[in-house]
């Protein structure tokens, strides 16, 4: 059981790792494709949020900068 969980984690990391190395891909969401999930800290230190937390709702994701 423990081994299966470990293998599962390593597999997930391998998938994540390959996504990150798909080099050099810059951010390019494709219309008609599922947006890759991500989890990031919040600016107000509240509980981190994933995009997938909003599954079932329509989302307007806004990438911006404050500068």
């Amino acid at each position: 059981m423990v081994r299966e969980i470990t293998l599962g984690i390593l597999l997930a990391l391998a998938v994540w790792g390959s996504a990150m190395n798909a080099d050099a891909g810059s951010y390019a969401p494709e219309v008609g494709k599922r947006h890759p999930d991500f989890m990031l800290p919040r600016i107000d230190d509240r509980k981190p949020v994933s995009l997938s937390d909003f599954r079932g709702k329509k989302v307007l994701l806004i990438h911006f900068a404050s500068w």
Partner: protein, 395 residues
């Protein structure tokens, strides 16, 4: 972005739409102040290392109830009809996640040992995002290793720069952190000159001749507007200064003709280093005819328990200029607080322009004059510190 915020308010209120922000910003508290000012009441996520690999902002993305992208930069005029009012099929396939979780750190450490090329950067990402200031040292080591095994890995260099700058702003700073941050960002940009998020990070601290706009001029306006509403503006740990709030220029102004304050070098030197001075040049090198911004940070030594004496002349910095080079200022004066003794960090910055025919790097000789107490309430000394600044030439 404020346009979308205003236009979608009713949809968000009625539960038809969720707004989710991701901000490209090194300082979370600056983003918090921005959100407070603009009254953005939706969740905003912080991506200080640009792990999502954006090349530019802003980018709004419409994502349906299944997590599938239905529009990139949607048209506000048709947003309701084309997106909000529609029901979409779940037909988007699967995609690997873009970010690690805090719980991945132990497994990523093992992966880094097995696959250093990708592994060190991935571990650095997890530590930078989830480790907090206490694990910045580890994140920096990971990114250094990543950059060493993959010298063309711009992400590793950029993120290394972010972490060095973050550490520079903490009590755990190491000498040279700011310059190392600039070097990391410069190395990153050299691998991909089209990466505007990376370029902006250098420009934030860079010379006015290379600025597209003032980056943080809004901070003062925001604080005033928030106070006028009767609220208390969020206090910033690192208030923007100098280059961060400077407006672009097309030409360097002619500096005032001033006499040097200690032409014969008679003022006693700060041999004990009661004040620690650190230099950073942004960008890290200059092309002929181009300019750089030179940042000097002054910190009273914690080991010596030194303090500024504010009851006399303020900290001054004199800049000697090599032949043919131009500077924005010859004499800079740091503001000082009203309290008689303080121990804060003081920063001065100025700009240097290389002559069009520059063929050699330049060495600038500066000196600072200041009044400092050896210990709190101790002996007051008027001291001079000579500072040398090397500016490398980029062909």
């Amino acid at each position: 972005m404020p346009v979308w915020h205003a236009a979608t308010r009713e949809w968000v209120k009625s539960g038809r739409l969720v707004l989710l922000g991701v901000v490209q910003e090194q300082h979370a508290d600056r983003a918090r102040l921005f959100a407070q000012w603009q009254q953005l009441d939706w969740p905003i996520l912080h991506d200080p290392i640009n792990i999502l690999r954006l090349q530019a902002v802003p980018i709004p993305v419409a994502i349906d109830e299944h997590g599938i992208v239905r529009a990139v930069r949607p048209d506000l005029k048709t947003f309701e009809a084309d997106f909000l009012n529609k029901t979409f099929p779940d037909d988007g396939g699967e995609a690997a996640p873009l970010t690690p979780k805090a719980s991945d750190i132990a497994a990523l450490r093992e992966q880094a040992k097995a696959n250093p090329t990708a592994g060190w950067r991935a571990l650095g990402d997890a530590l930078a995002l989830w480790g907090g200031p206490g694990r910045l040292d580890e994140a920096i080591v990971c990114y250094q290793r990543a950059a060493q095994v993959a010298p063309a890995d711009g992400d590793a260099f950029f993120r290394l720069g972010v972490c060095r700058r973050l550490r520079y702003e903490t009590a755990s700073r190491r000498p040279g952190d700011f310059q190392a941050a600039v070097d990391g960002w410069s190395r990153a940009l050299a691998t991909n000159p089209n990466q505007y998020i990376w370029r902006r990070r250098i420009q934030q601290y860079g010379p006015r001749l290379d600025k597209p706009y003032a980056f943080y001029d809004w901070v003062a306006e925001a604080a005033k507007a928030i106070a006028a509403r009767g609220d208390t503006p969020i206090a910033l740990a690192e208030p923007p200064y100098g280059s961060e709030i400077a407006f672009p220029l097309k030409d360097l102004p002619q500096p005032e003709a001033l006499e040097p304050p200690d032409p014969e070098g008679k003022v006693r030197r700060d041999d004990q280093r009661l004040i620690e001075a650190e230099v950073a040049v942004v960008p890290a090198s200059v092309a002929p005819g181009q300019s750089v911004r030179v940042h000097i940070t002054f910190r009273p030594s914690r080991d010596a328990k030194a303090h500024w004496n504010n009851e006399t002349e303020p900290l001054r910095l004199w800049v000697d200029v090599p032949a043919g080079w131009r500077v924005s200022d010859r004499l800079l004066v740091a503001p000082q607080p009203r309290a008689a003794e303080t121990g804060e960090v003081r920063r001065l910055d100025f700009e240097v322009q290389a002559p069009p025919g520059a063929a050699e790097p330049a060495r600038f000789r500066l000196y600072a004059l200041y009044n400092v107490y050896e210990t709190q309430g101790g002996q007051c000394l008027f001291l001079r510190q000579d500072i040398s600044v090397e500016i490398a030439l980029r062909k």
